[in-house]
Subunit: 205 residues, 4 copies
């Protein structure tokens, strides 16, 4: 399917290539990621991809999370009594000023789209990504980022339901453990999209 993705109808979506996951001391990585080698490899793979995608002028989208304007986490009512990430994020205190900074080479450049809004796991939900994609006639998404089984997967599932064709670059996504990456590829991906690996993707850009 990947080879059928026309450049004019495709966006490369980089999910949370920000300080929390990949900066110095990367707080979320340090807290949650056990299989570090796997995780670090995904970052270097994604770096290769963004470099070549820029050279070849594919559309690049930066889908981060940024709650720096909301230090009390009002969007989650402060997190009290909230299940899941909506309760956990305020408790841990992530995605404020320093945590939400993009990290080179994933810092937005001119002509690249920065997603605004969003407070959940899917980067499409309650954000400017969907109108951007619609206005630009984009129907195919190439997904990369963190964490594979949390925000990347929620985005994949949401994008499927919204009518997009999604390819996940599995070795440019980071899970906490190898087992999660394996499960995602075997039991989840085919219900909502397809997978590819970095060398395959690079070879057709």
């Amino acid at each position: 399917m990947l080879t059928k993705f026309l450049k004019s109808k495709t966006a490369f979506v980089f999910i949370e290539f920000q300080h929390e996951w990949i900066g110095e001391n990367a707080p979320l990585k340090n807290r949650f990621v056990k299989d570090r080698e796997l995780f670090d490899l995904s970052v270097s793979n994604a770096a290769q991809i963004i470099t070549k995608a820029r050279e070849k002028e594919w559309m690049i989208v930066h889908a981060g999370l940024d709650l720096s304007h909301d230090p009390e986490y009002l969007v989650f009512a402060g997190g009290t009594g909230k299940l899941g990430l909506a309760g956990a994020i305020p408790k841990v205190g992530t995605w404020q000023e320093s945590g939400s900074r993009f990290v080179p080479p994933f810092c937005p450049e001119a002509g690249e789209f920065i997603v605004k809004g969003r407070a959940g796991a899917s980067v499409l939900k309650h954000s400017t990504l969907d109108p951007f994609l619609r206005h630009n006639g984009i129907s195919n998404l190439v997904l990369m980022g963190f964490a594979t089984h949390v925000c990347v997967e929620s985005t994949l599932r949401d994008a499927h339901d919204s009518g997009y064709n999604c390819i996940v670059v599995t070795d440019a996504c980071g899970a906490f453990e190898q087992q999660q990456a394996d499960y995602f590829e075997k039991h989840v991906l085919h219900h909502f999209g397809e997978g590819c690996i970095t060398p395959e993707l690079l070879s057709i850009l």
Copy 2:
């Protein structure tokens, strides 16, 4: 958390208790479900739950899938060139007239809400469920149904991002294999909600 769910703010959401999964010859079950005992147990658990929830007058929501008005699967452009369920459903030919019939005791009764719309895995997406919940002041969802790691999980993830507190009754949900149920409970659920089992739930209704 379950014990804090006020009746007036809670809905029991039954996902796809329809012929495809639990009717005679249940086509989807027969095609995909390997661990049948596990699956059948979830149906009998859910039957106990709906019976008691009706007795005790909890709000009941029937969230099925029904494409019987769309025999050509126009909603998925016929499925050609579509990845995931949007491609698979038209190919398999599911969710037409017979497949979408509700199965006793899960047939809607007076005072119970029937979700309309929806064409994806999340029963909240593009459906009447969200305005129903909003208009009725419901902030807590109790989720049951099929398949655990496909539509139940997509609904859970979507509901979390929309700001609901969700409890999944894990033994009233059916996966294809035990491994998927186990993975869901261990690696997915806590990011988006909480789990409980049928006896716990019944004891507090």
Copy 3:
């Protein structure tokens, strides 16, 4: 702009060509519509359009409202304490079995899409219309129906925000009074789309 609408990227959206507005005794028309001639003209214009659009094989979408499965209007919590249509519809008792029937020549035919879901004024909101449009690569909408300043306008505004280009066929839409139609054309339309009239549209089909 109309002349640039490619057939493959355009859908004709017929909003509420149902018994409530245009059937025998049309209850909503009889209750609300003062300028009947204007209203009836819009129906005959739309009839010409659907006939030619079918001949020329443009994509046709039937966007009705149908609450026949929800006789207690649970979706609006029964309407008590609800402002706007959500309070008014249950009070008036519209959009049940007979009111929601499509009226010839606007009854759906094979190959035409029937929107499901939706409980508000915009036919895009909480319905299957958006995934249908996305899956089919449709970016242009031609809107017709009732009432101009209520559901047609809400759809236009919502579609604009979702990233569609919309043309409203102003003389194939019915308002309650001429003044509303005039105001819509002069003060609303250009913020969200463009207008055309039936002869123009017919000439390019």
Copy 4:
């Protein structure tokens, strides 16, 4: 209805109290607003409201538009070939750095929610407002801002369809001309919510 709005379930939503409309030289006001007295009165009314609402600790929401991170208007594909605001905003060049600055006394303070995302007329669409409202159990909105018949009205219509009860403070909203304000009150408001005026609102805070 206003008197039934519980403080814990209500948010005051200030729409676009930003430089484009109310700053020095306010570019959008200068370009579009003909009835300046009416417009300026709405600003002083809203100033009274925000002051008293802060004193009395009602929840305050700042729903601006900010495209300063998107100088090429990628979200609208640069605006070329786009109808409505999506075409007009890039042409006029509004909502960049200076235009999107909040203006005293409408600058966000601690404990007040700043909406992120959104690229259309409705401040609910594709923004963090809906999850904020949901997480905080808010079902009632008090709307104020600019322009009455454009973004305030789109928000009102969208909020209605999402299941909120909305009150528009009509004399704290600014239209381009008196006629638009009058039409909005007479022909639009009751379909989607209710109106009140500043003295009424102040008397119950």
